[in-house]
């Protein structure tokens, strides 16, 4: 006998015996799945935003320095531009982009104010591919090429120095021979983004800063991006092998505090996901148990008529499967649809500053992750099937008359 042909239509009809209740239960399943998908995506976006914000500041996915630079970042600890095996390693496919920089602690002075700064010499085109400093985010003409004169400063620093575009400032820094040098420069750009950096990071062209500090062709650091986040470790390792005399570090080694905050946020997110999954699951379990316990008498009847316990269990599981699969498909569509409407970004608004404290941007970009959708559906379907097993197994372990009569009272 084809048992499936016996229980399949019966299970389907049972499902629609109480149309309103079935639709409500399906809606509960759908909301559970959609909530899991949306919550999972939102938290993933939060984590990705915190990572992007940290690495896009200037850190990149990793950096290469002369040995000792990270402990004592001075002009003297410089290195030659990449060549030989290191240049070859940086040209490989697993490197998304890289950029050379010169760094020096310096003092900047306007007619009214002065401030300590971090002076960066950069290659503007390469820098745009690695960090936040895109030409579009800079007001003014910006740095045209790697030898162009002028500096780009943050808006906060400009407010503090009480200067605007076109004004001249004086920068003083110690050169490679230990002498204090001064240079007059024009403000050619004001950058937005990265509020923390705006207070102290000043950018000039690489050639200009190299000449100012007497570094020749030498540079202070190379920042690089891996093609994929998952490839950072491998790439860092291969670059370390290509440059054994230099110090190659990952972003989390360079920014341990930021990495710890992101890790803590990820862990908190994971706890939130588990808690929200648990809350949703309890609601779902409660609904399914209520529906099935109402039908204990029927389970007793079917056994009394001669339905074997295994077949009864199969029928109830099939019924639950119909119910939750329909609900899960609807929930997946609802969750995906919601995420698609948010693909332009979710403005956290008043949460923005709080979000930044935990490393995230003011705007999150939730994405549709198929594996997350499948996971949410699988969790709900499996949970429902396991839940539905409990009452029916209980019914099959008792003699039919107990199930029939106890359900009556």
């Amino acid at each position: 006998m084809n048992l499936f042909s016996l229980i399949a239509p019966l299970a389907w009809r049972n499902l629609w015996r109480h149309r309103g209740r079935t639709l409500l239960t399906m809606l509960a399943v759908a909301i559970a799945v959609a909530a899991m998908i949306i919550m999972g995506s939102f938290l993933s976006a939060w984590s990705a935003s915190a990572f992007d914000r940290t690495t896009a500041a200037l850190t990149g996915h990793g950096q290469i320095h002369a040995v000792g630079f990270t402990d004592d970042p001075t002009v003297e600890r410089s290195m030659a531009p990449p060549s030989g095996p290191l240049a070859a390693a940086l040209a490989r496919d697993n490197v998304e982009a890289w950029t050379p920089r010169v760094f020096a602690p310096a003092l900047i002075r306007s007619e009214r104010e002065s401030a300590p700064i971090s002076l960066y010499g950069i290659d503007p085109a390469r820098e745009a591919a690695v960090s936040f400093l895109h030409p579009g985010d800079v007001e003014g003409t910006g740095l045209g090429d790697s030898r162009a004169p002028g500096i780009v400063i943050g808006r906060f620093l400009a407010e503090r120095l009480q200067v605007s575009l076109g004004r001249r400032l004086v920068i003083a820094a110690q050169d490679v021979d230990g002498e204090i040098e001064e240079i007059g420069v024009e403000v050619v750009g004001l950058y937005r983004g990265q509020p923390d950096l705006q207070k102290f990071a000043v950018f000039a062209s690489l050639g200009q800063v190299q000449e100012f500090l007497g570094l020749g062709e030498n540079i202070s650091e190379i920042a690089f991006l891996a093609r994929q986040r998952s490839e950072i470790n491998t790439l860092t390792h291969s670059l370390a092998l290509a440059a054994p005399d230099l110090d190659v570090k990952r972003w989390d080694q360079l920014q341990p505090f930021a990495a710890a905050v992101i890790e803590m946020t990820d862990n908190t997110n994971a706890i939130w996901v588990v808690v929200s999954f648990a809350l949703v699951s309890f609601g779902l379990i409660n609904t399914i148990l209520m529906v099935l316990y109402e039908r204990m008498r029927e389970f007793g009847l079917l056994q009394a008529l001669g339905m074997k316990p295994g077949l009864l269990v199969a029928q109830v599981v099939l019924e639950s499967t119909y119910l939750v699969v329909c609900g899960a498909v609807f929930g997946a569509a609802l969750g995906t649809g919601t995420l698609l409407t948010l693909r332009g970004g979710l403005d956290l608004g008043s949460l923005g500053r709080g979000a930044q404290m935990f490393g995230a941007s003011e705007r999150l970009y939730p994405t549709v992750d198929v594996s997350q959708i499948l996971l949410a559906c699988a969790v709900v379907v499996l949970l429902s099937i396991v839940t539905s097993l409990y009452p029916v197994l209980r019914a099959t372990r008792r003699v039919p008359i107990t199930v029939l009569t106890r359900a009556q009272t």
Binding site: L10, Q303, G306, P309, G310, V399, I401, L404
Partner: protein, 225 residues
């Protein structure tokens, strides 16, 4: 050999803090083709005895043999198989599957037995026609009267070609005219098909139709005539 044999069957229920002796050692033998009424006051144990004979409940001690097979030796699955193939039930509350039509309710047992679609449909139609329900086969239980539902239950019990039919208060929810018709149908089945029927009932009218009357009082056989 008796088709049903009860050997010193005892059954105790727990009701709150008190043990209630529903059956206090019932021994009874019923031969093939008998039409037996179990009567007695409420709570005397007749329904309990019927449930134990049908394998819906288990005795505390003693044994029941159906066609020579001890029910004590059977697990839940084997008992379900015995009920499916050898015993038909008619319940007081009809107990039809609400999502199936009258015809499908009758077919359901045969489907469990593995009877092919064409054969079971033909047999179900025949049995329903024999209980006077040829016109309402497509209706679901909620669309049938109490009498019609009980007749579907009888048809369901008959459709599987059982050796024994056990009926618990089959006329309790029926008017006198429908009760009369149902009892006449049962007597006809007993006489024509040589079916063994055991009916637990309060209804004195039942006694007009049966050939054997067993009275149960306080969990014991009081009389057997």
């Amino acid at each position: 050999m008796a088709v049903i044999e009860c050997i010193d069957v005892k059954k105790t229920y727990r009701s709150g803090q008190v043990d209630v002796n529903a059956l206090r050692g019932v021994s009874l033998a019923i031969e093939q083709g008998e039409f037996v009424a179990l009567t007695g006051p409420s709570g005397c144990g007749k329904t309990t005895l019927l449930n134990i004979i049908g394998g819906l409940d288990r005795p505390k001690s003693g044994d029941v043999c159906v066609e020579g097979q001890s029910l004590n030796d059977l697990g839940n699955s084997d008992l379900a198989d015995l009920r499916l193939r050898r015993i038909g039930f008619i319940f007081q509350a009809y107990n039809l599957v609400p999502v199936l039509s009258g015809l499908e309710n009758v077919e359901f047992i045969m489907q469990l037995q593995g009877v092919g679609r064409a054969d079971r449909r033909r047999r179900a139609s025949e049995v329903l026609a024999s209980v006077g329900l040829a016109e309402v086969q497509a209706r679901r239980p909620a669309e049938l009267s109490g009498g019609q539902q009980q007749r579907v239950a009888v048809a369901r019990a008959l459709a599987s070609n059982p050796a024994i039919i056990l009926a618990d208060e089959p006329t309790a929810n029926l008017d006198s005219r429908t009760s009369q018709a149902l009892l006449e149908l049962m007597r006809e089945l007993n006489e024509k098909e040589n079916l063994t029927l055991v009916v637990a009932s309060h209804d004195p009218k039942v006694l007009e139709f049966v050939r054997r009357h067993v009275t149960v009082v306080d969990g014991r056989i009081h009389s057997d005539t």
